[in-house]
Symmetry: C2
Subunit: 231 residues, 2 copies
């Protein structure tokens, strides 16, 4: 048997939601679409699945094409398959989201794609159902970051507790108590004191930490309770 006697075969795309954090705001790397329809409009970075390519490999290819990076945090979000989601032809979109350090990317390839880091709070209109994808990705990020230590993927190797707090505040769009946050984070044992201190600070220099990799990996699938419960 070489194939199933079934005719409906669909075009399959991969779209990537790329999160970054600039120290103040949560941002997305968006591109200006380079072909019709909707040419010139804001869009997620995407591409079609190749014939002999696994989905995850396709996602990495597409992410690499835009950012120049390998080995970044990627997770499959969901597949969007509404019949009319693409006006040209029915196209399934397998959506991934990625977390990267906003300062680690290839400026050239970003430029050549007319890509831009845009704050989640100033999101422009996006093509097709891409806004729904972003919405879902944000929910998933909030969900996951509240329970698993993935926030670190958005920060540099060395970071301070106040930086980490600002990140969580950006993700959840709320203010946290400095002292309680610090206590909670330190109690996880995920942070290792590097001995160094933050250089560029106008006031008291904060301690630089790095991630405790062993603890991170061994306990990744445990639940942490980073966020306060809101009932």
């Amino acid at each position: 048997m070489k194939s199933y006697a079934h005719s409906t075969r669909l075009l399959v795309a991969i779209d990537c939601i790329i999160f970054g954090f600039d120290g103040e705001e949560l941002k997305l790397l968006l591109i200006k679409r380079r072909f019709e329809p909707e040419k010139g409009k804001w869009s997620l970075m995407g591409g079609f699945v190749n014939e002999e390519e696994d989905l995850e490999v396709g996602a990495e290819r597409i992410l690499h094409e835009l950012t120049g990076l390998h080995n970044i945090y990627v997770e499959q979000l969901q597949t969007f398959g509404k019949v009319d989601r693409d006006p040209v032809e029915r196209t399934l979109s397998v959506v991934f989201f990625a977390l990267i350090n906003i300062h680690n990317h290839d400026e050239e390839s970003v430029k050549s794609h007319s890509a831009c880091w845009i704050s989640l709070k100033q999101m422009p209109k996006l093509i097709f159902d891409h806004e729904k994808m972003v919405q879902l990705a944000l929910e998933r990020l909030r969900y996951k970051a509240a329970l698993h230590p993935i926030g670190f993927e958005l920060l540099p190797q060395q970071f301070t507790i106040p930086q980490l707090q600002k990140l969580y505040e950006a993700i959840y769009d709320l203010k946290l108590d400095r002292r309680n946050f610090s206590r909670k984070i330190l109690s996880t044992g995920l942070l290792l004191d590097t001995g160094e201190k933050n250089a560029n600070s106008a006031t008291k220099k904060a301690i630089l930490y790095r991630l405790n990799k062993e603890k991170y990996e061994s306990n990744f699938n445990n639940f942490w309770y980073f966020m306060p419960v809101t009932t």
Copy 2:
């Protein structure tokens, strides 16, 4: 423009993981595959996506075909797309999982598909990558049921607290303290006392509760902390 000038179109299947609970064990509704390859082997219920059919609609169609039920709890899990996952031809599988009351299903259609409720602890070998799908679905169920009140989907309309506890113990494969569990569940306000008591009990009859729908819906996306933290 009528289509994209791109040739790779893929066959897309939908596979459904159907969870049930018989009062003691967590079970899956599995079928014996009715066509080649792997004819006669255990498999998840599935089918191909129709040309003019949304993914969710396809999932409901497939679930209805096997169980005779409509309006059941369904959630998209993930899309499996390894190039060689189906030996015949590359086929994407969009996987859904469903939670149903094990006593609500059409015996006839279940029989005609040679389907069977099988305990998770006695799972047979499954075709292709279906075991991975089940594994992922179980993880997702554990994840979700710890934080959101979806367990109720597996129980009859009226249920007792000991029944609910047995359900959670089955999902997480652990023993819980009866008294602490009761206190925690009641404190959510999700349970309404029906005034009735469990009939078929050899000893003290337990209070029958039903779900507080308003609370269920309004607070569904809040986090509940049903399960103890294991750090």
